[in-house]
């Protein structure tokens, strides 16, 4: 059985982590935790880490002992510089807390890229965890709504840059902006995005831990995540019963099912497909044939088949060779930073001019 650690950092990370815990209860609503026990597909440890105690308090399905407050009340206010300092100050505490949970084969770090705490802690955590554990580390980075403002964009830009520099095994993107379509208001959009992300993550964990026919394993994951720029995302498709397994597999590559906008056929580097369902829906020959076809376009495609009661479901996980959306994001981030800089300088100049008026003057009483 795989030992997996899931860290949710900052408000966004905490909330997605809480969704994972909620899903582990079967997703049965608020009261499930009072009558049922969590069931993870592997040995999963979760820790919610935050500088804002209120964010931790808002969680519902995460054990209190799995919520770790980094003593710096009320967050770092989206200030990554401050966030890094707080991390440095509390590094031992944080690592000690993680260490209590034993050793791990795979670590997921979930964070938003736009906030202060999560986005600054995540790269540092990758660095520390790599040093401390011989485990694969996959980051799940949540991109902001583009209208959130220049600080969000700037944080995202630096966060992703720093994450890549720390070389985790991979980065999976979840784009709030792209997934806004899930719901009209932000709150329900968040909930929906969190639940979707949580389910896909658990699906992935289940597949990695499974000892079934044609399984995928950590090695496959590592290879997939190594492809392209090391950044990817996840897609998902559930067939209604009329579909062939081929249609279901192809469905999981459709942009509408992805967590981040990409064209798998043009930009995909490597992929992993996890196919789950009742045996009668899983035509192995067809699966193999479909994957062969896909490989010619997407490159290396790993597959895992999980026989489990239910309609056929496919989770696709892939890395990308190029990420136009990220390029656009960096471009706008750069514009935002420059604009910010110019505005600052202008404001400063204005203030300097104003002060110049009273230069060499003394107050007279």
């Amino acid at each position: 059985m795989l030992n997996i650690l899931v860290l949710g950092i900052g408000q966004c990370g905490n909330r997605i982590l809480d969704s994972i815990n909620s899903e582990a209860f079967g997703g049965n609503g608020t009261f499930a935790k009072y009558y049922s026990n969590q069931k993870f597909p592997a040995s999963v440890k979760t820790i919610a880490i935050n500088t804002a105690i209120n964010d931790l308090k808002g969680l519902k399905y995460t054990l209190a002992k799995d919520r770790f407050h980094v003593p710096h009340l009320h967050g770092v206010g989206a200030n990554r510089t401050l966030g890094k300092k707080v991390f440095e100050d509390n590094k031992e505490l944080i690592m000690g807390e993680i260490d209590k949970r034993g050793s791990f084969d795979l670590i997921f770090i979930i964070t938003s890229t736009a906030g202060g705490s999560g986005s600054s802690f995540a790269p540092r955590l990758v660095e520390e965890l790599k040093a401390a554990y011989n485990a694969q580390i996959v980051c799940i980075a949540v991109l902001p709504f583009r209208e959130e403002g220049s600080i969000s964009l700037q944080n995202t830009a630096f966060c992703i840059k720093e994450l890549i520099e720390e070389k985790p095994n991979g980065i999976l993107l979840v784009d709030n902006q792209y997934l806004k379509k899930y719901a009209g208001d932000i709150k329900s959009a968040y909930d929906k995005i969190n639940a979707t992300t949580a389910r896909r993550l658990l699906f992935l964990i289940e597949a990695l831990n499974s000892e079934m026919l044609m399984v995928t394993d950590l090695g496959d994951l590592k290879t997939v995540m190594n492809g392209g720029v090391g950044i990817g995302t996840m897609g998902f498709y559930e067939s209604d019963n009329g579909n062939t397994v081929k249609a279901t597999i192809l469905g999981s590559f459709k942009p509408s099912g992805l967590l981040f906008p990409a064209n798998v056929y043009t930009e995909g580097a490597r992929a992993m497909l996890i196919i789950k369902g009742s045996k009668k829906y899983l035509d192995l020959d067809l699966i193999n044939k479909t994957i062969e076809e896909l490989s010619t376009e997407v490159g290396q495609v790993f597959k895992g088949v999980l026989v489990k009661k239910g309609p056929a479901k496919v989770l696709s996980l892939f890395t990308l060779n190029s990420i136009p959306e990220l390029d656009r994001l960096y471009a706008s981030a750069a514009v935002a930073i420059r604009t910010e800089k110019v505005k600052r300088e202008e404001s400063k100049k204005q203030l300097d001019n104003a002060f110049a008026c009273i230069e060499e003057l003394e107050p007279i009483y």
Binding site: K33, Y34, L56, K60, L63, A64, R67
Partner: protein, 398 residues
């Protein structure tokens, strides 16, 4: 209206009763005697009735004591008070005719008195009484028998249907043999004499004779009766008649007592406030008393228990061969009641063709534990769930 009638009746009676006197007072010739006599002087009326003045007293009340003797009648002492009126002092003679004494005046040693009676009766003799003799006619020449009769009853109270034994003790205190002794024993209506002699053998001077008979009370209502004096008439050897009488006796007749056993059964439940605990033993004491006056025959006890009451120890329906009057049998049974609520235990005791019952009531309550057992049982999972919820809540609250 009633008043008037009573008055008329009363007047009529007075008139009838007073008739001889009224007649006598209306005409002097009806007084047999109307004169003064000295103490120890006597008169004889119609040769057979003797009236002697025994003593006179003026203090505290004027009175005179007379001795009256007559044929076939015992000697009688009569004290007559002045102004008592003749009616108060009647003396009935053997023939059934009565005479009446009336004291007119009392002097130091004489008395003026009147004797009234049948108009044709006359004083036939005046005589002096020898103080030594003390009674009767002076008959110095011959021996005189003098019988004294005492009558006793073996019981003073006799039941209807039973018999009282009447005994006469007759003693001859005289100096001559009493012969031709006739015993005139009165009786009570409804009672019969068995073996009561009417004549007795001669009794020599100084001898004592005992005679007894059974007085069978057959059809007499319960009550207190006076048995009138027994009259003895006898003669001396010379043929002179004498009589004496016993004192009267009182006999109480009580209702006939029926001999029958009578049983009473009593149940006693040992408990506080007649409340017992379901499932716990309690004892019931059954006591059967023979309150009757006869020994019973075979006795059986039959119990009637509520459905949920069981006998846990002891014989609940014993059989006894007999119980003597005033005696009792007692036994204890241990029982258990299983259901809460009011219970009635009934027991019948049966003997001959009769039966008596008793019942006892008690409340059965669930024990403290039993009462709350169900709640405790129900509470355990609730408490466990609550503890679980609290634990979970604490685990998930930060």
């Amino acid at each position: 209206m009633n008043g008037v009638r009573i008055l008329v009746i009363a007047t009529f009676f007075v008139f009838v009763l007073m008739t001889p006197v009224v007649v006598a007072s209306g005409n002097d010739s009806y007084y047999i005697f109307d004169n003064e006599l000295q103490v120890n002087e006597g008169i004889t009326i119609e040769t057979s009735i003797h009236i002697e003045v025994v003593e006179v007293k003026r203090i505290p009340l004027e009175r005179a004591k007379f001795r009256i003797t007559s044929y076939q009648r015992p000697e009688r002492m009569i004290t007559v008070f002045k102004e008592d009126g003749p009616q108060a002092n009647r003396y009935e003679t053997y023939s059934g005719a009565s005479i009446y004494l009336d004291v007119i005046g009392v002097y130091s040693d004489s008395v003026q008195f009147r004797v009234s009676g049948p108009s044709n009766w006359r004083v036939t003799d005046y005589y002096d009484v020898d103080p030594e003799e003390g009674g009767g006619e002076v008959d110095e020449a011959v021996t005189v028998p003098k019988l004294k009769i005492t009558r006793t009853l073996d019981i003073s109270s006799v039941q209807q249907g039973q018999t009282a034994k009447v005994t006469f003790k007759i003693k001859n205190d005289g100096n001559g043999t009493a012969s031709e002794i006739e015993l005139d024993e009165p009786t009570i209506k409804g009672a019969y004499r068995e073996g009561c002699p009417t004549t007795l053998d001669d009794i020599a001077a100084g001898a004592t004779e005992r005679v007894s008979y059974d007085l069978k009370i057959v059809d007499v209502e319960p009550g207190t009766y006076e048995l009138n004096p027994t009259l003895l008439n006898y003669k001396s050897e010379s043929g002179t008649s004498y009589s004496s009488e016993s004192s009267s006796n009182v006999l109480v007749i009580v209702a006939e007592e029926v001999l029958a056993p009578e049983l009473e059964i009593k149940l006693t439940i040992e408990s506080d406030d007649d409340v017992i605990i379901c499932g716990e033993r309690f004892s019931v004491t059954v006591r059967i008393d023979n309150t009757g006056n006869a020994t019973t025959g075979r006795i059986t006890v039959k119990s009637h228990l509520p459905d949920d009451v069981r006998v846990a120890g002891g014989e609940i329906d014993p059989v006894y061969e007999s119980i003597k009057p005033g005696d009792y049998e007692e036994y204890e049974v241990t029982m258990i009641a299983y259901e809460p609520g009011k219970h009635v235990i009934k027991m019948d005791v049966l003997w001959a063709d009769e039966e008596a019952s008793a019942s006892a009531e008690f409340w059965a309550e669930r024990s403290g534990f039993d009462k709350y057992y169900i709640y405790i049982l129900a509470a355990i999972p609730i408490v466990l769930i609550l503890l679980w919820l609290i634990k979970r809540r604490r685990e998930y609250s930060f």
